[in-house]
Symmetry: C2
Subunit: 202 residues, 2 copies
């Protein structure tokens, strides 16, 4: 694909560095941006630069925030004695949207993944251990993805927190709501059998 | 989806204005950009701003170019007596990549589409008619998409150019190379029967 302008080529190269954007899509995006007015273009680039200049990370839970302490940690109605450990702020948003959780969070910023060169020191693990030692929460919930990396991180965190004798829980694993049982994979099905709970008629 | 920062929200709103990018993808892109270093971020936004400040449109054919006249129009080896009319610079790139065309181009910048409020005056049609009147090319090829809008534009252009008695051609329509005949749609198949040509054993 021969691009007839080095400035367009440059924009296409930058846009195709985004996750999930190939060169064809990048060209489509660049031509779309080319049609924007100067002021629209300024708004666009300013909003992206604003990410770097304005966004802070909460000093307590590492959530993204406009203030030194995020809205959840600063909220006096949230139960500070339960800490939910998640990988990413998108997990916080997913759990918040259920409305079923009233505790606080701790964002690791990733999962331990030797394949990708991510070790425990690159994650917000020490601050979690310090927080647990100081505030002695009632419960810590591990809400990481049910993957190899998630399980490795769960195990590492457990070893680090074990000596504090805090109740540590993890999200239940089982068949998704709305799934047809015959299509559930074997591992999920066997886990949901092991972790079966008493039936309650509501 | 409750986003915990107004600056992140702003970036997500801007990114989700891009074609084919929804709010979830926009959030993923924004979080990816947030992890870039300051200098990487500057390179990124500068490359987008460069689209507006540096890119020119060729004075002859309206192709995107870094100079007032594009590389194809400025190339003395190209046959200036054949003009290929296309919708978009992506069509130029597609035809150039075949290596089968040695004439020049004229980019309309869109197709006539009353549904989208695009009339002939918003397209580079007058400059095509003027160019044809002045330079009297041997042939004008209509290489527009075989859609309703493409056909409407073809018809409009033909009416505008008819009085110049220039040979006007259009891309052949027929079954794609590599298609199984049984899966070709009826309209395409009937067109390829009408436009059948003499078989040549190479």
């Amino acid at each position: 694909m021969q691009i007839p302008s080095k400035y367009l080529e440059n924009a296409v190269n930058q846009l195709s560095s985004l996750p999930g954007v190939g060169r064809r899509t990048a060209l489509r995006l660049a031509l779309f941006l080319l049609k924007k007015s100067d002021s629209e273009m300024n708004d666009f680039t300013d909003s992206l630069k604003g990410l770097h200049t304005h966004i802070k990370f909460c000093e307590i839970c590492h959530n993204i925030s406009d203030h030194p302490i995020c809205g959840i940690c600063a909220n006096s109605n949230r139960d500070k004695s339960i800490i939910c450990v998640v990988e990413d702020i998108r997990d916080v948003m997913a759990i918040e949207s259920t409305g079923a959780y009233k505790g606080i969070y701790h964002i690791l910023g990733g999962l331990i993944s030797p394949m990708d060169g991510i070790g425990p020191n690159q994650l917000n693990i020490n601050s979690l251990v310090n927080k647990a030692e100081e505030s002695k929460p009632k419960e810590i919930i591990f809400a990481l993805s049910p993957t190899m990396e998630g399980d490795t991180t769960n195990f590492y965190l457990f070893k680090k927190l074990q000596h504090l004798s805090i109740y540590i829980s993890t999200l239940s694993r089982g068949v998704s709501v709305g799934t047809e049982l015959q299509y559930a994979d074997e591992l999920t099905l066997s886990r949901s059998l092991e972790q079966r709970s008493e039936f309650k008629a509501i």
